[in-house]
């Protein structure tokens, strides 16, 4: 039965959209300033922050692309989702306390605010804002397109109509309630994702005849597929572990949540909780891909036309309609929670960071302009999704790596090393952007591909780290003495 003809799925998705709308109405009344809009008025408790962080990081890729990658290349793909446990630990240990305390000393609403406070001068703020805008365009375009594709399948409407409905709800709660609406929607969405993941694990094991049977079937097909490195080999797997482990500290939609925490003591259990919650959601990623491949191998299902069909085909054929409905709502939740975060970051970059970087001031009515910028960003990304799909795919492909390589050295290392300099910050951001774009373009056009399956983002991050530390050493004479007293205190506490 086509997805659009299942009333249970339709009811679940419509109920989900209605809940998002309701949370938007609630948050609209509580958003009165730019600080409310960008950092939720620094009001989040630890549990809310934990689930919201997980939900905003787990994008639609985790619910569709992840199972598809497992179906295509076996356990290789697990090296993308498994580093979450070390990634969250690193984020909390290196950044949690520093970012939260920096926000105690002055108005810090965005990552460019962080680098401007840390390094001084306009260049670091400008470089960081530029990196954010480029990354946001890519990420947002892919998320917007994914919202459209899912709603086309569920509602049976055309892509423009699906975009109008999905983005209408997203626009309402993001424009009205800013990040406050986004965070509480993230919490709701995170809970939906966890329920969906546990339910899917159960049905995947049933469909494949248990984990042992799935493993035996896949081992018979190709031992590499279910071996520890998967079909893509060890270098690809290990480079994924490194970029997705270190890269958590470079995802702006994750680490800006530290600025929103009500009390610094709320950090205490966050790394453990967020890592655990993310593990639960990764069960869907792992179980659908392995079960579908096993079922296809044993002849229970014809081979899929495309790996990304693994999740939808599994849900329609191997789970009860109500479970499929919850998972489709969870999928939409994963996409919209990520899109909301990027809309907020993009609006901040346009309204606050770029004007400040050019030596101007943030606009007088910052909240109003932020709402306008959010609508503009949504409209532009919808147009990109409809008419420039290739560009969206290109930018989306290296969104994670772009952020990781550009942000990890100056923010994660820079907030823990007093000799880091603004020159090192700018040089590493530029190096990461140039490398990421040129290597991705060269690979797409068959000019040059990094050998041994190395991830482009991982390579760029390693080079960016060397550039950051190297340039800071070369330009670091007296860097410690130039630190503002409160920044020095943040780095020493």
């Amino acid at each position: 039965m086509p997805i659009s003809q299942s009333p249970e799925i339709l009811i679940c998705v419509v109920a989900y959209l209605a809940c998002c709308f309701g949370i938007g109405v609630w948050a609209l009344r509580r958003t009165r300033s730019a600080a409310d809009f960008f950092v939720a008025g620094t009001s989040l408790g630890p549990v809310v922050m934990t689930i919201a962080t997980m939900a905003s990081i787990m994008s639609g890729f985790g619910f569709v692309g992840g199972p598809g990658l497992v179906y295509e290349s076996g356990t290789s793909s697990l090296w993308i989702t498994f580093p979450a446990t070390i990634g969250f630990a690193l984020s909390w240990v290196l950044l949690g306390k520093r970012l939260r305390l920096l926000a105690e000393t002055r108005e810090i609403l965005t990552l460019p605010d962080v680098v401007a406070a840390r390094y001084g001068g306009r260049a670091p703020r400008l470089a960081m804002a530029a990196a954010l805008v480029l990354g946001v365009i890519g990420y947002l375009g892919t998320q917007v397109l994914a919202v459209g594709v899912v709603l086309v399948a569920v509602l049976g409407v055309s892509l423009p109509a699906a975009l109008l409905i999905g983005l209408g709800v997203l626009a309402f709660y993001t424009v009205g309630g800013g990040i406050l609406a986004g965070v509480y929607n993230d919490v709701f969405q995170g809970v939906v994702m966890m329920i969906a993941s546990v339910a899917v694990l159960f049905y995947a094991l049933v469909a494949g005849g248990g984990m042992e049977q799935i493993s035996r079937t896949l081992w018979t097909m190709d031992p590499k597929f279910i071996g520890p490195w998967g079909a893509r080999g060890p270098m690809a797997a290990l480079s994924w572990y490194l970029i997705f482990g270190l890269g958590w500290m470079g995802q702006p939609h994750g680490i800006t949540k530290f600025l929103m925490l009500r009390e610094v003591g709320g950090l205490r259990w966050g790394a453990l909780l967020t890592g655990s919650v993310y593990m639960v959601c990764s069960l869907l990623w792992m179980s659908i891909g392995l079960a579908m491949r096993s079922v296809v191998q044993t002849g229970g299902q014809p081979p899929l036309a495309a790996p990304d069909l693994a999740a939808p085909v599994f849900l329609m054929n191997y789970t009860p309609p109500l479970v499929a409905g919850v998972v489709f709502a969870g999928l939409l939740a994963a996409i919209m929670s990520t899109a909301n975060s990027f809309l907020n970051i993009g609006a901040a970059a346009l309204v606050r960071d770029l004007p400040l970087a050019w030596g101007g001031k943030a606009p007088r009515h910052e909240l109003g302009w932020s709402r306008v910028a959010t609508v503009v960003l949504l409209a532009v990304s919808a147009l990109f999704a409809l008419y420039m799909e290739n560009l969206v795919a290109l930018l989306g492909a290296f969104g994670w790596g772009t952020f990781a390589a550009a942000i990890v050295p100056p923010v994660a290392i820079g907030m823990n090393w007093k000799r880091a300099t603004g020159a090192g910050c700018v040089a590493s951001i530029l190096a990461s952007l140039v490398l990421n774009f040129s290597l991705e373009l060269a690979s797409r056009h068959g000019v040059y591909t990094l050998p041994y399956g190395m991830n482009v983002g991982c390579f760029s991050l390693l080079v960016s780290l060397i550039v950051f530390i190297g340039v800071s050493w070369l330009t670091g004479r007296g860097a410690e003495d130039r630190l503002a007293p409160e920044v020095r205190a943040v780095l020493e506490v």
């Binding site: 593990m279 090393w417 409160e486």
Partner: protein
């Protein structure tokens, strides 16, 4: 301490790139794990208990990666997965949660002692009201 760890991060990063170009993937994997461990070391900032825990983490990574190579051709199933894959699923995946647990356990003693937080807020907490830190 910070300078020494950053120097080590620089050295391991350079080594990682060289090992990658040599396609020495196991050594690259160990360098990657060393980089992740050094990152935690930079954030924690030292202390005997923490140093021991970080050394144990790196040792754990080394043993698990070594075990995956050692058992590569073993088809025996452990908890539903081939033995080397079981080391990935039940070892490498959850093991770093212990670092999250360590962070929580040493939060008030090493990460952010209450007296340090009080002093910081008193001297630099200009943006917010200079409130008392929350109690444990």
């Amino acid at each position: 301490m910070q300078d020494r760890i950053v120097t080590a991060i620089f050295a391991v990063t350079v080594a990682s790139l060289l090992l990658y170009f040599l396609n020495a993937w196991l050594a690259f994997g160990l360098a990657a794990c060393a980089l992740l461990t050094l990152g935690l070391g930079l954030g924690f900032g030292g202390g005997r208990r923490i140093t021991r825990a970080l050394l144990a983490l790196f040792a754990g990574y080394s043993v698990l990666l070594g075990g995956m190579v050692w058992l590569a051709e073993t088809p025996a199933l452990v908890l539903g997965f081939p033995a080397p894959t079981a080391l990935l699923v039940y070892g490498i995946w959850p093991m770093p949660l212990l670092m999250g647990l360590l962070y929580a356990l040493v939060f008030h003693s090493s990460v952010l002692p209450e007296e340090k937080l009080k002093k910081f807020l008193a001297e630099h907490g200009s943006r917010r009201s200079r409130r008392e830190p929350e109690s444990r």
